[in-house]
């Protein structure tokens, strides 16, 4: 049946200047799609690339907004009128006022001098500097990203800086975590971070939260802050920080780093997307290696953490163009910045129009990681039966009594250069399938012990070899890390 469709002024040039057209259809969705087929230029203005009606296109059946009926499935019959009515929106893109009506203290004479390079720019000025002073920022993690972010936020005069961390400084941190120094190795990160931040700016109030952020404490932690800076290095915590940010209405200034590539965006700003709009589901466990497994260029978190500090400051000032709805990708090796457009997903389970997640969940389980078995636990890898495993002590005992197995190292050549078990053979995991002929075979052949850095890759290799008919294969639990720690401390760890 024919339905009358009222065309708004801006779309009339596409319908031959007509303000009413008759279109066939049984539902609003059918009518609109038939309309866009008949008048092809309407397609891109009414529908987004993914085929959904654009958010600023309002559809009324007679006088009722279809959002309150059955949306695009709303039935129409002869005599009904479908109206397309624009919402007109725009403006400089900025989050809602973070500081609100909170009392903003005057700047002291010393502060005016300290921040003079800010004050002479109208975008900051005295008002902006007072906003910074009134602002409260929570940094999750005092590691690679948290180091430069917290240092620049302290230097910029953010009044109160919370830091969540429970780790101790390790010498392998110093290549990138510039908030800690060589004399800090072995000290809690919170202690060295506080000292460094206080040295930069003694006026900043530092809150030390020596705890692991969990679903039980996240919302209470976030309650005292205006902006959350995500410097976490694993998926369960990243989803936790995202969801807690959305639920508590605090912007989530996101950054992540891996090898030479960094990412940054601002999530959970009202109307903007969140991390789940981009990645509704986490990757399967083990697919994306951590920095400990894959490495990271030391200066990379310097760039990304500094971008996070920049975005945090802009959110507080309420100016500029924030990284909302934009996903920045930085490739340090090629020195390229790319930007992807992001939109809030109306179907997002946490920030969508009808959210299904209204409280924090078990994020270890959500990410497919069993509790008490973290990715870096040095365990034997998921699910290998005990008869397919051996320990570094057993291996050492066998070598000592000249009962030598074939030791297969499935790491990469650059890892092999750092440390190795004497007499081992290197075949990287990715090449193993093509190089099976290099392995000992037959009844008289020695059995095979496979190892990698900490046991995950070699567990995959063990499984692969078993499937290919090698019946005497064992995975070395804890990998070379356990070997160096327990058997041969003369070699370096990485």
């Amino acid at each position: 049946m024919k339905i009358k469709v009222l065309i708004p002024t801006p779309l009339r040039p596409f319908t031959g200047k007509r303000d009413v057209v008759d279109i066939e259809g049984r539902t609003v969705g059918e009518v609109l799609r038939a309309l866009a087929t008949e008048y092809g230029d309407l397609q891109r203005h009414l529908f987004a690339d993914d085929g959904r009606l654009r958010s600023f296109v309002n559809i009324y059946v007679n006088d009722d907004d279809i959002r309150y009926l059955k949306k695009e499935d709303t039935e129409v019959q002869a005599g009904d009128t479908v109206s397309i009515i624009p919402s007109v929106a725009g403006g400089a893109p900025v989050a809602a006022d973070l500081i609100g009506e909170r009392q903003q203290a005057e700047l002291t004479k010393a502060e005016v001098e300290r921040y003079s390079r800010h004050l002479i720019m109208p975008e900051v000025g005295i008002d902006g500097q007072r906003r910074l002073k009134a602002a409260r920022v929570l940094c999750i993690g005092a590691g690679g990203l948290g180091s430069p972010a917290a240092m620049y936020l302290a230097a910029a005069g953010v009044g109160r800086l919370g830091i969540v961390d429970f780790d101790v400084v390790d010498s392998s941190n110093l290549q990138r975590q510039i908030i800690h120094g060589t004399p800090d190795v072995g000290r809690p990160k919170l202690v060295s971070a506080r000292e460094r931040l206080t040295a930069i700016n003694p006026e900043v109030q530092i809150d030390s939260h020596e705890t692991r952020i969990t679903s039980a404490n996240a919302l209470a932690l976030f309650a005292d802050y205006d902006v959350i800076v995500d410097g976490t290095d694993n998926f369960p915590t990243r989803y936790l920080v995202n969801d807690a940010s959305v639920l508590s209405g605090k912007p989530n200034v996101y950054g992540s780093i891996f090898r030479f590539e960094g990412q940054a965006s601002v999530f959970a700003v009202k109307g903007g997307p969140c991390y789940r709009c981009l990645y509704p589901e986490p990757p399967p466990p083990g697919l994306v290696p951590s920095c400990a497994e894959g490495g990271v260029l030391g200066v990379l978190p310097g760039v990304i953490g500094t971008i996070q500090a920049t975005e945090t400051i802009k959110l507080i000032l309420g100016g500029g163009e924030p990284l909302v709805g934009r996903f920045l990708i930085y490739d340090a090796w090629r020195m390229r910045f790319r930007e992807l457009k992001l939109r809030r997903d109306p179907a997002c389970p946490v920030c969508g129009d009808a959210p299904t997640i209204k409280a924090l969940i078990d994020y270890e389980q959500f990410c497919g990681i069993a509790p008490q078995r973290g990715a870096a636990s040095g365990g034997a890898g998921p699910g290998l039966p005990p008869e397919l495993e051996t320990s570094v002590e057993e291996l050492k005992a066998r070598l000592d009594r000249s009962d030598r197995p074939f030791i297969l190292d499935v790491r990469e050549p650059h890892e092999y250069q750092i440390n190795r078990i004497p007499g081992s053979t290197l075949i990287p995991l990715g090449e193993l399938q093509q190089r099976l002929t290099e392995l000992p075979q037959g009844a008289a052949a020695p059995d095979i012990v496979v190892h990698c850095k900490s046991g995950a890759r070699s567990a995959k290799a063990t499984r692969l070899l078993t499937e290919r008919g090698f019946d005497r294969v064992r995975n070395l639990k804890g990998g070379i890390v356990a070997w160096v720690e327990k058997i041969d401390p003369s070699q370096p760890k990485y």
């Binding site: 708004p8 002024t9 801006p10 779309l11 009339r12 040039p13 596409f14 230029d41 891109r44 203005h45 600023f56 309002n58 009324y60 907004d65 009515i85 624009p86 919402s87 007109v88 929106a89 725009g90 403006g91 400089a92 893109p93 900025v94 989050a95 809602a96 006022d97 109208p122 975008e123 009202k270 109307g271 309420g318 100016g319 163009e321 709805g325 934009r326």
Partner: protein, 152 residues
């Protein structure tokens, strides 16, 4: 000659609205004929996400603006809004929410004082805005005379 014709008194009304709303954004509809604006019709800024940086014209206001244009025998030519302490250039947000075949006039308001005023039209493929010249204070466009007559 391309562009939009805005009489000086209408342009001044837009600036005055931007100044009055500062530090919030103001918005309104442009009513006229062809490419000549005859009236700037102030609208309430309905946004709930920080009026300081956003504006939103609700469907009911849009209908009202169309009705007013129709009553005056004129057309809805576009919308204006202010950018408080922000250049008079369309933002990504403006682009994402833009409608075709309309003029988007933006007036920058710097520290409470109206500054640059620009006008923009959405490209047909939605990829960007193109700036159009504002012809201000040059009298009305010759074709607009008939529409003026219909105004109450």
């Amino acid at each position: 000659m391309n562009g939009v014709w805005i009489p000086a008194e209408v342009a001044d009304a837009i600036r005055a609205h931007g100044k009055a709303a500062y530090p919030d954004e103001c918005c309104g509809a442009l009513i006229g004929s062809g490419s000549s604006v005859l009236e700037a019709f102030a609208l309430d800024n309905k946004t709930t996400s920080g009026a300081r940086r956003r504006f939103l014209v609700e469907p009911t206001d849009f209908r009202q603006a169309e009705a007013r244009a129709r009553a005056a025998g004129a057309e809805l030519l576009g919308f204006y809004h202010s950018h408080p302490d922000h250049p008079a250039r369309p933002s990504q947000f403006d682009l994402d929410h833009a409608w075709p075949n309309l003029s988007y006039v933006i007036v920058a308001v710097e520290g409470g004082r109206p500054a640059t005023m620009t006008s923009w039209r959405l490209r047909d493929d939605r990829s960007a805005f193109d700036e159009e010249t504002i012809h201000e204070n040059q009298g009305t466009h010759p074709h607009a005379a008939a529409a003026l007559h219909g105004q109450a």
